[in-house]
């Protein structure tokens, strides 16, 4: 080898081959300096500690957390000698390290996505009531997943639960979750919602749920997404972008389905309500019938009273017209053979029958004078 001259290109290729064989991937921790993005797609920065500095390069689409100078990060990278003879790390992934950097990265990304409107309240969709088919993204070995499934099954039944098992911490977790979201959204038989579940963890563990691509994938999900990551006090960006947030995995289960015991109680309440409505209706109908009968009875009595009163009046009138009443008062009736009971005049010599209260008298007319 020493006797065979190499071209510069070959020499660089040889070094790179050796590096790739010896160190396919290195993980380096340090502080960011000289961060810049060229042409909107090439990312350059240095990673340094108190004594040394290394140049880093990456494509913008691999940059999943916001960077700024002074942040402490861990890079996952491939060591490379560039064609200009400069040693560089070609970065595949970056993870903020230390509470300060994680919080700063969180804050920067939150501000950026908020400005884009990804967290806006009007983007939020309602979860379906009583879903029959749901998607779940979680690690099936995690305690949080176990709690979620247990509470879900205690509360409700008859659902199809399609689970995509992913890592929920570590370098590849966010990529797996993005892929799981895609998978669930592309199922031929669609899910009605997607729950992203992870139990409690350190701020480093939960940083997976602050990944920019993951947040964008949640925002773009066809099915509404509910997040249940960490504990109530934990704050991750997936909680901001999700359509609904559960404080814990168990709380997510409570938000997705009603409690069958409450529904059963409600059913009994509904039937009791129907019985009460029917009783009320029967009472109303009964009251109507009673009222109708009362009105009919009152009308009959009134009609009878009117007839009776007319009868009494007629009797009184008839009684007043009775000629015997005149005889009782001292008047008398006269009859002639010629004119009968109506005597308006008579001729001399006629015989008149006079009826008084006490006697019938025959008399002869001796004189007639016109009035």
């Amino acid at each position: 080898m020493e006797n065979v001259p190499l071209s510069v290109t070959d020499a660089i290729a040889l070094v790179n081959q050796t590096l790739e064989y010896a160190y396919p991937t290195v993980v380096v921790e340090g502080e960011v300096s000289s961060f810049k993005v060229n042409q909107g797609k090439f990312v350059f920065f240095d990673i340094k500690d108190s004594e040394s500095s290394l140049g880093c390069f990456m494509m913008i689409f691999n940059l999943r957390v916001p960077l700024e100078d002074g942040m402490k990060i861990r890079v996952i990278a491939r060591p490379t000698l560039t064609k200009w003879g400069k040693f560089s790390l070609t970065v595949r992934d970056i993870v903020p390290v230390g509470e300060g950097s994680i919080k700063r990265a969180f804050q920067l990304l939150k501000e950026k996505l908020d400005k884009e409107g990804l967290f806006a309240a009007e983007r939020k969709r309602s979860l379906p009531y009583m879903p029959s088919r749901i998607g779940v993204i979680s690690s099936t070995q995690a305690a949080g997943y176990g709690d979620f499934i247990k509470i879900l099954s205690d509360r409700w039944g008859g659902m199809d639960i399609v689970v995509v098992h992913t890592q929920v911490q570590g370098a590849d977790a966010s990529r797996q979750i993005v892929s799981a979201l895609k998978k669930l959204n592309e199922l031929s038989e669609p899910v009605e919602l997607i729950a992203v579940i992870r139990g409690g963890g350190s701020i480093d563990d939960l940083a997976v749920f602050n990944d920019e691509l993951l947040i964008r994938a949640v925002a773009a999900s066809r099915a509404p997404v509910i997040s249940g990551v960490g504990h109530e006090q934990d704050e991750t960006l997936i909680d901001f972008v999700a359509d609904e947030r559960g404080s814990t995995p168990s709380n997510v289960a409570e938000r997705i389905v009603p409690d069958k015991r409450a529904v059963t109680d409600q059913l009994s309440g509904n039937i009791e309500l129907l019985i009460a409505k029917m009783k009320h209706r029967v009472q109303v109908v009964h009251s109507h019938i009673e009222l109708s009968l009362e009105l009919a009875a009152r009308s009959t009595v009134q009609s009878y009273e009117r007839s009776f009163s007319r009868y009494a009046e007629m009797r009184r009138l008839l009684s007043e017209l009775d000629p015997r009443r005149a005889l009782m008062r001292g008047y008398s009736l006269m009859r002639t053979e010629k004119n009968g009971p109506v005597v308006t005049s008579a001729d001399v010599g006629d015989t008149i029958l006079i009826e008084t209260k006490q006697a019938l008298i025959n008399a002869e007319v001796t004189d007639v004078n016109e009035k």
């Binding site: 009583m130 029959s132 088919r133 099936t140 499934i149 879900l152 099954s153 409700w156 039944g157 008859g158 659902m159 199809d160 639960i161 399609v162 689970v163 995509v164 098992h165 992913t166 590849d172 797996q176 892929s179 799981a180 998978k183 038989e189 069958k260 529904v263 059963t264 059913l267 009994s268 509904n270 039937i271 309500l273 129907l274 019985i275 409505k277 029917m278 209706r281 029967v282 109908v285």
Partner: protein
């Protein structure tokens, strides 16, 4: 393959809700109400049984990276 409850619990709940709405009208006929009530009570019992008996079906899909 599916244990979907769309033909069972949720549909029955919807039917029950419709029956309940019928009773909201001011002057319903008592004879029809008896028939509807029997129907509602039967549905409620059926739903209770379904709620008590039906389990969820869990399918775990594998990611390509795991295969």
């Amino acid at each position: 393959m599916s244990t979907k409850n769309e033909n069972t619990i949720s549909v029955n709940l919807k039917k029950l809700e419709q029956l309940m709405e019928w009773f909201d009208q001011d002057e319903f006929e008592i004879e029809s109400a008896i028939t509807k009530f029997d129907e509602a009570a039967k549905l409620a019992d059926e739903i209770k049984l379904q709620l008590a008996g039906v389990e969820n079906k869990i399918t775990v899909l594998k990611q390509k990276t795991e295969q």
